[in-house]
Point group: C2
DNA sequence: TTCTATATGATAATGACTATCATTACTATT
DNA sequence: AATAGTAATGATAGTCATTATCATATAGAA
């Protein structure tokens, strides 16, 4: 049984403070800055445990994982290729078409990852 | 100026032989089996060069990149979480909605990555 | 208090990928 | 044919995100 230990609670609280998309190393650094250092291996294990319990979500961006609150409504991401800004969006038509595509291909859908890349307003 | 050297041509030919989604190490191994060993660093550099020239495309799946022919029509991927099968699909409505979502958020779209996860027909 | 199970931290290890550098290959020029 | 310049190559060291290992600490049940 996966425990929600104090360390994990602290990680979860930090993630739940905002809509930020956290990298593991970023979390470890921020916790250290707040006088709550947690070993990087413990952060990784904690993130895995929290995700397994459905308390946070993650998505892969290039070669590293980003973590965010699971309590947000389902959404996908827009990423600016200039400044790295991540914005969220939700689009029911896309969701419906994804379900349709899965069915048409004989797949029983379990999830998806959609990232749209572009240049944001500020970087244009 | 990026050259299309013999090594790179061999890599390109292998990728163009099929619709397969190749990992770098897989390419190196297959070339070695065909008595055409290419150093892994050379494979990586070759893949980067071929992609820069628009001759192949890639997408990131978990912690590693997959490479495929660029001559395919644009498509996205369905991946079976049981057996790992990758299938391709194209859906104009999703493409259109992505453009709309980008515009609505003030983004000038440059690309996207969409992966739908599920369980395929065979693994149900 | 004791015992058991799990978490933790530090660090070594892993694996995908890249940098370095001596050497080789390619191509243009003479 | 020889030479020069440029880039590619291969081997391997290095980088970095992540995980495995192991000694120790902690939590909770009995």
């Amino acid at each position: 049984m996966i425990k929600l230990t104090q360390h994990r609670q602290v990680i979860l609280d930090l993630i739940n403070e905002s809509n930020h998309h956290w990298e593991a190393e970023e979390l470890a650094r921020t916790l250290a800055e707040r006088d709550h250092p947690i070993g990087i291996a413990t952060v990784y294990r904690g993130l895995a445990a929290l995700e397994a319990q459905g308390l946070i979500s993650s998505f892969q961006l290039a070669d590293r994982k980003r973590y965010e609150r699971a309590s947000k409504a389902h959404h996908d991401h827009l990423i600016c290729t200039e400044c790295g800004t991540i914005e969220e969006f939700s689009n029911d038509r896309i969701e419906q078409q994804q379900d349709l595509v899965a069915k048409e291909n004989g797949f029983s859908i379990t999830g998806h990852q959609l990232v749209i890349f572009g240049v944001c307003r500020k970087c244009s």
